[in-house]
Symmetry: C2
Subunit: 369 residues, 2 copies
Amino acid sequence: MTGVRTGVRTIEWRDSTVVLIDQRVLPHDEKYVICRNWEEVAESIRTMVVRGAPAIGVAAAMGLALAARESSALGAEAFRSSLQRATKGLFATRPTAVNLRWALDEMERIWARNGLEPGETAELMERRALEICEEDLAACRAIGENGADLLAELTQGRPDLTLLTHCNAGALATAGYGTALGVVRSVFARVPGLRVFVDETRPFLQGARLTAWELVQEKIPVELITDNMAGHFLSRGEIDVIVVGADRIAANGDTANKIGTYPLSVLAREHAVPFVVAAPISTVDFSLADGSGIPIEERPAEEVTHMGGVRVAAAGVGVRNPAFDVTPAANITAIVTEKGTARPPYEDSLRPVAEGPYPSKARLTGGAC
Amino acid sequence: MTGVRTGVRTIEWRDSTVVLIDQRVLPHDEKYVICRNWEEVAESIRTMVVRGAPAIGVAAAMGLALAARESSALGAEAFRSSLQRATKGLFATRPTAVNLRWALDEMERIWARNGLEPGETAELMERRALEICEEDLAACRAIGENGADLLAELTQGRPDLTLLTHCNAGALATAGYGTALGVVRSVFARVPGLRVFVDETRPFLQGARLTAWELVQEKIPVELITDNMAGHFLSRGEIDVIVVGADRIAANGDTANKIGTYPLSVLAREHAVPFVVAAPISTVDFSLADGSGIPIEERPAEEVTHMGGVRVAAAGVGVRNPAFDVTPAANITAIVTEKGTARPPYEDSLRPVAEGPYPSKARLTGGAC
């Protein structure tokens, strides 16, 4: 399975530890962080050793499995308290991606059950965490195929295509293959003339460091640009479609994703270029009617004022660092999920997709996590 | 006059040399480059030791004055050839800002005259270069006042205001005071509740390094953001007006400015926020009917792939680095110049402004350059 992950693993359960590739230092260095308890997983999420909505969910599930293993010798009461504490601690790490809450809820379904011994529960939780990981990988593959079908339809199957993507919604953002980059990979298998504009995605540079790296590994031609250049290239007709991931989608289709996504959607609309969101259906938070309810994380100022540890910005400035923005549903051409593609109006189309059957395109491969 | 320039001088004629503050290393280091001949001035323009459209023009004029001084002992024929060569060399440095050509044309008016001795010509050219510098400073002050008048009208004189600006169109982009930042300075004198969002302006970071630095010196509150955040803040109603400079304006008002300006104009229109261009009237290139004729400079890839000399982007990527983009006139609320403010339709309003009298608001101060 390593081929699917560009030769490295975003996240792996190994000998009862959670092994994460350190995304703060890629691609310059290939380092791994080995988490032996849930606190180390939480710290890794908070500091963005691991990032990307689906990967955060997988990490949280595995972190809770570690907590269960660690507490499995306790009595039932103490075991539950311990898991409540771990759940709270993991949940507090990053507020925007819904996958975090989703994964913790999935795990809670197991440990909140009555009648299980802590030891049994820990076993089931470890199994579920690995399953969440496998399911994510299968979902990405299905998203890739559904997305490639959509793009073939939107572009009438032309032999060349220029796509723009933002941030990293790739193998490094998921258990593997990726959502937006899953679509890119699947499209590339059908459209050898594919070319991808990658905007660098300040302040964390997921585009320049992570997406660019993944695509170079796949030998997909990359044009790296700064975040302020997409308008120029759209106005010159150089970009045919934009595909992005998502951290949380409201019931009406409003989508929270990495800061900078919203401006791209406005520019796409301005130039009649399709703007596609690719994400697992679990990204949809049906409890939110629209995007105004999505919490937008503000991260440390240093991410903006410094680069590579060196201060670049003038001293004495205030700084704002919202890590996400909300794209209104009106700017979104389609939402591609593993269970199918939803079109506007999303308040009508998303629920049927969510309640639909698990797709035949998604095959759990086993042993991949 | 140093107070007007935030205590440093962008460009100064001193003992027959051109002294430039090195804008590649601000604000971290305050270094100066002393140019003793026109080739050194050209190199400084090319490598962005000095940048900003008006400053480039002033530098070119002074560079040519150096060439004249250096060749003043030659015969008339050889003198002219020498100046032709210097003109060509200076003109080739950067293609987009019209101020470069304008300044070289102003100087050519002198040396192309018949009947002057090389020595006399060199004297006149030195005087004209200093005058161009002084005029630019006066123009900036007038632009500042005209811009502040306009903003008072647009915002009905409210006591607080949040303005966004892009790149650096400040003292560092001009002979002093600045165009867009001239407007900011003049507004701040009237509106103490002014707050300025500064986007960092990758790849060269003129916003984070230069604009932020200038405003902190003036004690104007700054909120530094990355280039992909403006949409988020506009959508939340946090920005009241956008003011930018310009490198070249076509006869119909289409405006070339630092890459990233165009997207801001689209977002401004999306949120019904005024979008104002501030520039000397010499920035208008009446020989161009519209923006499609404005040359867009592509700069070295390393500016995108590296930060502070260290590579951040994945290896093996293609890179695009257009340094400017074109904002359609339809997105521009007003163009503020030293001779007055033009409103749409610009193909009708710009020429009367250009042909109008030199404004009483602009006072040459003398000895400032």
